[in-house]
Amino acid sequence: MKKEEFLEKFIDAVQIEEDVNEHTDLSSLDEWDSLASVTVLALFNKYLGLKLTAQDIKSCMTVGDILNLGREKYAE
C-alpha cells in the first residue's frame, strides 16, 4: 500500500471530516481521542502488517508522525 492510500484509510477509519495534511497537529482534530489511536494501531496491523506499541502511537504529534511509523512498509 502506498503512503497516500494509507492516509486515506486513516482519514476514513478515524472518520475525520476536516482537511488534513502531514503537518496537521493530531491535537487539533476533534476526532483524535483514545478510540482513534486504537483504530490507528489496528490500521497498521491490518494494512501494513506492523505490530506497533501503544507508545509508538502516543509519541506521535502530527499526522505526518503517524504516517512515518509505516515508512518501511509503503509501496513505491
Binding site: 481521542d33 483514545s34 478510540l35 489511536s37 491490518k46 501503544a54 502516543k58
Partner: protein, 350 residues
C-alpha cells in the same frame, strides 16, 4: 504458554441472567460534552448501544444465584449432587468471606461442598471452565461454575473521563459433570503481570485502603478504576490471535473444524481485528451481544452463547473455541466440545 488438557468432563447446561433495567448510550446527553456526532462515531466503531445495569442493592452473586436456580429448575437437577461451587467475579459481595460460601448457603447446597471465589475479569469465564473442569476430574462429580460481575458499579471509570460507559451487568451459571466419555478440553493460558496497571481499580484494597479523600461529594467511593484502551488493543492483537492458533494446534484441529469462536465481547472493533489477524470468518464469531448488553466483563462468553447460540447449542453437537482476554493482563483460550446442552438464553433478573 501454559498448555492444559482436561479429560472426562462435559458441560451440561448454561444460564445467564441480567438486570431488567436497560440504559442506552444515547440517553445520556452529557457524554462527550454533549457532542452527539462524537458519540455516534464511537457507537459505530465499538458496537456499544444498550446495556443492563443492576440496582444499587443487587450484586453479581444475586444474578448468578438466579442463573443457578434456572439450571436446577429447568434441568430438573437435584442440587444435592453439587460437590463444588466456584464463583468468578471482580465485584464480590464482601471483602471477606468468599461470596461462594454465602452462595452455598443461599442455594441450599450440602455441607460437603467446596466453595471458593476467583478474582478474574475478562478471562474469567474461560478460567472458570478450566478450574471447574479440573475439579470435576478430581473427585467432584458435579461442579457449579458461577461467573458474574456488576462492573457498572465501578462508576468512576467513566465519571471523570469523556468516555462512554460500556459495561453491562450479568451473572451466569454453568454446570459440569464427570463423564468418562466426554471429549478432551484444550486450554492455552497466559499472564502478563508487568501490565497489571493497564486495567485496574486502584483504591479500596489494602495497598490503598479507603481514606477520607477517596469519596465524591455524593458519597460514592473513588475506586480509581481505569483502563488504557490503547494498551489493551496492543495486548489483544499481540496475544489473542496467537493463543487461538496455539490451542487449535494443540487440539489437532484447524479453524475450519470449529463451529463458533466465542470471544470475550470486549467491543466490536477488537473482535473484528482478532478475526482479521487470526483469519476467522466473521460469521463464525458472534458479536451482536455487545450492542444489546454492553461489555459483560467475565460473563460475556456465556452471554454470547446464550444470546447468539441459544438454539444451536441445544439442537446439535458443537465444537467451540472460546477466548477470554483482558485485566491482569490475562488470557485463556480453549477448545470445547458441547453436545446438546441446556441453555436458558438470557433472562431478566426481576
Amino acid at each position: 504458554m501454559l498448555k492444559s488438557i482436561i479429560k472426562n468432563v462435559k458441560i451440561k447446561g448454561i444460564s445467564v441472567v441480567v438486570p431488567s433495567k436497560e440504559l442506552c448510550l444515547t440517553d445520556d446527553k452529557s457524554l462527550y460534552g454533549g457532542d452527539e456526532k462524537q458519540l455516534k462515531r464511537v457507537m459505530r466503531s465499538s458496537g456499544f448501544n444498550k446495556r443492563r445495569v443492576a440496582d444499587e442493592n443487587v450484586t453479581a452473586s444475586d444474578l448468578c444465584v438466579k442463573a443457578a436456580e434456572n439450571i436446577f429448575a429447568d434441568m430438573n437437577f437435584d442440587r444435592k449432587n453439587i460437590d463444588a461451587v466456584v464463583f468468578v467475579t471482580q465485584t464480590p459481595d464482601y471483602h471477606m468471606p468468599a461470596t461462594a460460601c454465602v452462595i452455598q448457603h443461599r442455594l441450599g447446597l450440602k455441607e460437603s461442598t467446596a466453595a471458593f471465589d476467583v478474582n478474574q475479569g475478562c478471562a474469567g469465564y474461560a478460567y472458570g471452565v478450566w478450574i471447574a473442569s479440573m475439579l470435576a476430574n478430581s473427585g467432584c462429580r458435579y461442579v457449579l461454575l458461577l461467573v458474574g460481575d456488576t462492573s457498572s458499579k465501578y462508576t468512576d471509570m467513566f465519571r471523570e473521563h469523556q468516555s462512554a460507559p460500556i459495561f453491562g451487568d450479568a451473572g451466569s451459571a454453568t454446570l459440569f459433570e464427570f463423564d468418562e466419555k466426554a471429549a478432551p478440553m484444550y486450554f492455552d493460558i497466559g499472564t502478563d503481570g508487568s501490565n497489571y496497571e493497564v486495567i485496574m481499580a486502584r483504591n479500596g484494597g489494602f495497598r490503598n485502603p479507603p481514606k477520607k479523600d477517596m469519596f465524591y461529594e455524593d458519597g460514592t467511593f473513588k475506586y480509581e478504576a481505569r483502563m488504557d484502551g490503547l494498551k489493551v488493543m496492543e495486548f489483544t492483537l499481540s496475544k489473542v490471535p496467537g493463543s487461538i492458533k496455539d490451542v487449535l494446534e494443540r487440539a489437532g484441529i484447524t479453524k475450519d473444524d470449529i463451529d463458533f469462536f466465542v470471544m470475550h465481547q470486549a467491543n466490536k472493533f477488537i473482535l473484528e481485528n482478532i478475526a482479521l489477524e487470526a483469519d476467522i470468518p466473521l460469521d463464525k464469531m458472534p458479536m451482536e451481544t455487545i450492542s444489546k448488553y454492553g461489555n459483560q466483563s467475565c460473563t460475556s462468553i456465556p452471554g454470547a452463547i446464550c444470546d447468539a447460540l441459544e438454539e444451536e447449542v441445544q439442537k446439535r453437537p458443537l465444537k467451540l473455541c472460546i477466548s477470554g482476554f483482558g485485566i491482569g493482563l490475562s488470557w485463556v483460550s480453549a477448545v470445547l466440545d458441547i453436545d446438546r446442552i441446556y441453555c436458558s438464553g438470557i433472562r431478566n433478573f426481576d
